[in-house]
Amino acid sequence: MEALLATAVGVLTACGVFLILRARTFPVLLGLTLLSYAVNLFLFASGRLRLGAPPLIRAGGSYTDPLPQALVLTAIVIGFGMTAYLAMLALRALSESGGDHVDVAKEP
């Protein structure tokens, strides 16, 4: 199970990095989203994988590590904020430069 999760993190990272290195804004947006998934899963996994042990205090329960979950929860929301910001930036750049290339136009 752990090996599969590690593979998932790795593949998400690889796909995210590849897309981030593209020259157009939209793939970069997709890549950033994939990379956020990878990082969130990685952080989440640092609390180890456990079935049926949610960190809700109850009689006789066993619990998984709640701290990574708290970190990842805010990371998910911040990740959305970042994606949204990047999307708005892409639109602004489109209106300013007339294109969706990530780089500053060199010479006209």
Partner: protein, 938 residues
């Protein structure tokens, strides 16, 4: 008066100087005389504060005043006044007063002087700080301040290129030395266990025996040698002669360049008395002494000659400290006094000549004795002192130097070497002094002077007269005049009983006297044979350390520009690639160099079908999205499949809160992506070139593979976590059973506050970025099909209306229960946002927008204020920020509800999240209302 004790007085000296330094600038509109008087008054006040403390220092006492500043770093505002400090204070303030008087006459009448005097006072304050510091770190702060303020003083005539270059050079060299000194002082403090001088001076044995003694000594000496212009760092001083002459007289003869030798004297008990000290300090001093004296002879500029002479004399003082006997230290301190007196007067005389003639070139300035006999006489006496002529103060310390070389114990087999060396140095000093006297005041008629010279104004000459009088008084009756001060200062420098010595003009016929006679005769002889010497010097290759430095400086700047241009080419792709490559390298290095402490296979969860299936879907989705990223709509759908798989993974592995959050965010993300897609150009981008593709694939594989390995290794490592604390304390301490939520709103509430602030900034940024943004709305898709015109299907619209109250109820429920069951502000906020965004989708932006608050900024502020306010609310109860309180309440229908103040915090989170998501998405949606229509192609 009880409060007026000596500590207060001591602290008041630098405090007065620092507090009063802007005064001349503020007073300058009342005229330059007012500015000068104010400056003199500040110096006089410092002197008056010093006087009551002087008797104790003369008696050999050490006064220490301490005020804790940053005790954790060993940095306290602690000051110290002993004999050495007293001597330097008197030099700084006494010569300072004379320079103030002199400058008022010297500087052009068009100059209002406020700026000059203010910087001068700042410099003086910093100098006082250096000589009065008990804490070495504090000393360093003042030390750097002297470098900075002297930069401003040297560059005072900033319109001149020479001034700017000279100032920059001085700052670069002394500032660089200051860095070395900082490192040395940190090491010294580390060895001694304290930065307080009283501890360090008493720990000499321990310091010298320490393994770090050599680097400490070298670093501190670098600081001292750069400041005191010792070879090979001497070159900044002649360039700094571009400063106005009063500055040269003050900084470059009496005070700042003496800071280096002051440091030698100050730290002598801690660092001195070792072979390394002897060779480094003595060797540097000896080389500087002779090299600079020889160079001085060939200078044509009067100030250039005096500058090299200063370097040479500083070398002599350094050499005396390096000789490392108690008597040589006494001689060194004595020469500090004498040199300050005669050199300051010589600089002032040089300034008079420059002022009157309009040039300082000795090839043109001749025969001045007839034009200004009084100034000439004064300058000749001072130059005699510089040469070491009997009856003048310079003679006495030079005799002590000669006597030291004769009796020096270290060089038994070469007993004659050191005295010979000293005699040669003496000859050179006599030679350049002779040149100064003969070339300027005699040697025929002046040649082509820009001005007709006269005697200077009475008060411009007064400081010179006073200093020359001191030269004579000290020279004739040293015991009565300078004796007590020298005893106190040398005693403080040695931190030991003074050696037996006798200050007198006449010691009988002995070897030192013979050496003096030889030096005088030899020096005059050298000067007599100057023509062949000058001819020989002319054909030497020119040495210009300053131009070399300038070239180095320019090359450095050009190199930096080239590097920046090469790296910073405006390509985001390249930046990202470099960044990722660097991270991969760093991660790989850490991974393979770290200890292999994991060991064995990850012992954990057995694979189960549901989880395996989910993760396989995830893999397919990610790979598919990447492979098909050009099919943009398909890619978005695949990415959201990945997101849903992540959600399922969270559920499977015991993270219900994360799953709820991820699910809600997924909805928002897909709406966001579709909105953006609508505007972005649909035409396919050209394919990447093959090398670029290979580079990117390689980086992707390396980073992905690396992170996978790290994940595997992490999962195999033993679990060591602080979650036990949170699990135990969640109910008793935070009043909630949902530990994740309690962590967010209570234990780590401050983090969360920061995070919602970041979110709020995104909403603000959306205002800035989308404001008045107009885009072209396409009418057809890339294949030429027109977009559907029926925007809002009736079915969806009806259903969304029904859904809204339901969704809002659910979100309130999720918000309220969040402290105990999965939910909370983030999740509830996202659910509400999704419900509202659905309204937009179903009914159109025009139908929904008027019903929502117009000012999202106010809502953001409300949310942040709620969260921060509930944090502040714990202050009146004497608790730290964000302390939570909780209790049980029975509510109808809901039953027993545990209410915690953290819920108000959660409400703040909720409001911020809703506002951010809705305002960003609706902001993007509103673009369609003002989008331009494309020009239809025919």
């Amino acid at each position: 008066m009880n409060w007026l004790n000596s500590s207060v007085l001591l602290a008041a000296i630098p405090a007065t100087a620092f507090a009063a330094f802007p005064v001349p600038l503020l007073l300058q509109r009342h005229g330059r005389v007012t500015a000068a008087v104010a400056t003199a008054a500040v110096m006089a006040s410092c002197l008056a504060l010093l006087l009551p403390l002087a008797p104790a220092a003369f008696a050999g006492g050490t006064e220490i005043a301490r005020l804790a500043w940053l005790p954790a770093y060993g940095l306290d505002l602690s000051l110290r006044l002993d004999g050495l400090g007293l001597l330097f204070c008197l030099l700084i303030l006494g010569i300072g007063l004379l320079v103030v008087l002199y400058a008022a006459w010297y500087l052009p009448a068009s100059d209002r002087l406020g700026r000059f005097y203010s910087i001068l006072l700042l410099f003086m304050a910093a100098m006082l700080g250096v000589v009065l510091s008990e804490n070495l770190l504090l000393l360093l702060v003042f030390w750097e301040l002297t470098s900075l303020s002297s930069f401003l003083l040297v560059a005072y005539q900033s319109e001149k290129y020479e001034s700017r270059i000279g100032a920059r050079l001085a700052l670069a060299v002394t500032g660089g030395g200051g860095l070395a000194l900082l490192a040395g002082i940190l090491l010294l403090g580390h060895i001694a266990g304290s930065y307080e001088l009283s501890v360090i001076l008493a720990a000499g044995e321990r310091i010298r025996a320490h393994a770090l003694y050599a680097p400490t000594l070298i670093l501190i000496l670098l600081g001292a040698f750069t400041k005191s212009a010792q070879f090979p760092f001497h070159f900044w001083l002649p360039s700094a002669m571009a400063a106005p002459t009063p500055v040269s007289a003050y900084l470059h003869s009496a005070t700042m360049v003496k800071a280096g030798v002051f440091l030698l004297a100050r730290l002598y008990p801690a660092l001195g008395s070792s072979d390394l000290w002897f060779w480094l300090v003595g060797g540097t001093g000896a080389v500087t002494l002779v090299y600079a004296a020889a160079t001085a002879l060939f200078r044509n500029d009067i100030k250039g000659l005096l500058a090299y002479s200063t370097i040479s004399h500083l070398g002599l003082i350094t050499l005396l400290f390096g000789l490392d006997t108690p008597l040589s230290v006494v001689a060194g301190v004595f020469h500090i006094i004498n040199h300050a007196i005669f050199k300051a007067s010589l600089f002032m005389a040089a300034g008079v000549i420059d002022h009157e003639c309009g040039t300082r070139d000795m090839r043109r300035v001749n025969g001045m004795f007839r034009v200004m006999p009084i100034t000439a006489t004064l300058a000749i006496i001072a130059a005699g002192s510089m040469a070491g002529v009997p009856l003048l103060n310079g003679f006495l310390s030079k005799e002590m130097f000669f006597a030291e070389t004769v009796t020096y114990p270290q060089f038994e087999p070469l007993g004659w070497a050191l005295p010979l060396f000293a005699t040669i140095a003496g000859m050179l000093a006599v030679a350049y002094s002779s040149r100064f006297i003969h070339d300027v005041f005699f040697n025929g008629e002046p040649i082509d002077l820009p001005r007709q010279p006269h005697e200077p104004p009475r008060w411009m000459r007064a400081p010179i007269e006073l200093l020359v009088l001191l030269c004579l008084l000290v020279g004739v009756a040293p015991g009565w005049t300078v004796g007590p001060l020298l005893d106190a200062a040398a005693g403080a420098a040695l931190q030991a009983p003074l050696p037996d010595f006798h200050l007198a003009l006449w010691h009988g016929f002995n070897k030192p006297l013979l050496m003096s006679v030889l030096a005088l005769a030899g020096g005059v002889l050298i000067y007599a044979f100057r023509r062949p010497l000058f001819a020989w010097q002319d054909q030497l290759p020119p040495m210009h350390p300053r131009t070399a430095f300038e070239r180095f400086y320019r090359a450095l700047a050009a190199g930096a520009r080239r590097n920046v241009a090469r790296l910073d080419n405006g390509s985001l792709q390249r930046y990202c690639a470099l960044l990722i490559a660097f991270v991969v390298l760093l991660g790989g290095w850490a991974f393979f160099s770290g200890a292999d402490d994991a060991g064995g296979q990850p012992a954990g969860q057995a694979a189960d079908e549901a989880a395996v299936g989910t993760l396989l879907v995830l893999l397919l989705g990610a790979l598919g999205a990447t492979a098909l990223y050009r099919e943009r709509l398909l890619a978005v759908i695949l990415v959201s499949i990945v997101g849903l798989s992540v959600t399922l993974t969270f559920i499977r592995f015991s993270a219900p809160d994360l799953a709820l959050t991820q699910l809600a965010v997924e909805t928002g993300t897909i709406v966001l992506m579709l909105l953006v897609l609508y505007y972005l150009p649909a035409r396919n981008a050209p394919k990447s070139s093959a090398p670029r593709l290979i580079r990117d694939l390689l980086l992707a594989l390396l980073s992905g593979g690396g992170l996978a390995l790290v994940t595997l290794r992490m999962l195999a490592a033993p679990v060591d976590t602080l979650s036990g604390f949170y699990l135990q304390q969640a109910v008793p301490g935070g009043g909630g059973a949902n530990v994740v939520n309690v962590i967010l709103v209570d234990f780590r509430g401050f983090d969360t506050l920061g995070e919602i602030t970041v979110l709020a900034m995104v909403a603000l940024a959306s205002h800035a970025l989308l404001d008045r943004l107009t885009l072209i709305a396409p009418r057809r898709d890339p294949d030429g099909r027109a977009w559907a015109s029926e925007a809002h299907p009736l079915f969806l619209s009806m259903l969304a209306r029904l859904l809204l109250p339901l969704a809002l109820t659910v979100s309130v429920y999720v918000l309220l229960r969040g402290h105990n069951l999965p939910g909370g502000g983030f999740v509830a906020g996202l659910i509400t946002s999704v419900a509202l965004v659905t309204q937009y989708l179903a009914n159109g932006i025009g139908a929904v927008q008027p019903r929502l608050p117009r000012q999202p900024v106010r809502l953001l502020a409300l949310g942040l204020l709620l969260a921060a306010g509930i944090g502040v609310a714990s202050w009146p109860f004497g608790r730290p920020f964000l302390t939570s309180a909780h209790g049980h309440v029975r509510l109808p229908l809901l039953g027993d509800v545990e209410l915690a103040s953290a819920m108000v915090f959660d409400l703040g989170v909720y409001i911020v999240v809703v506002t951010v998501v809705v305002s960003v998405l609706s902001g993007l949606g509103q673009l369609s209302l003002r989008a331009r229509q494309p020009v239809e192609e025919a």
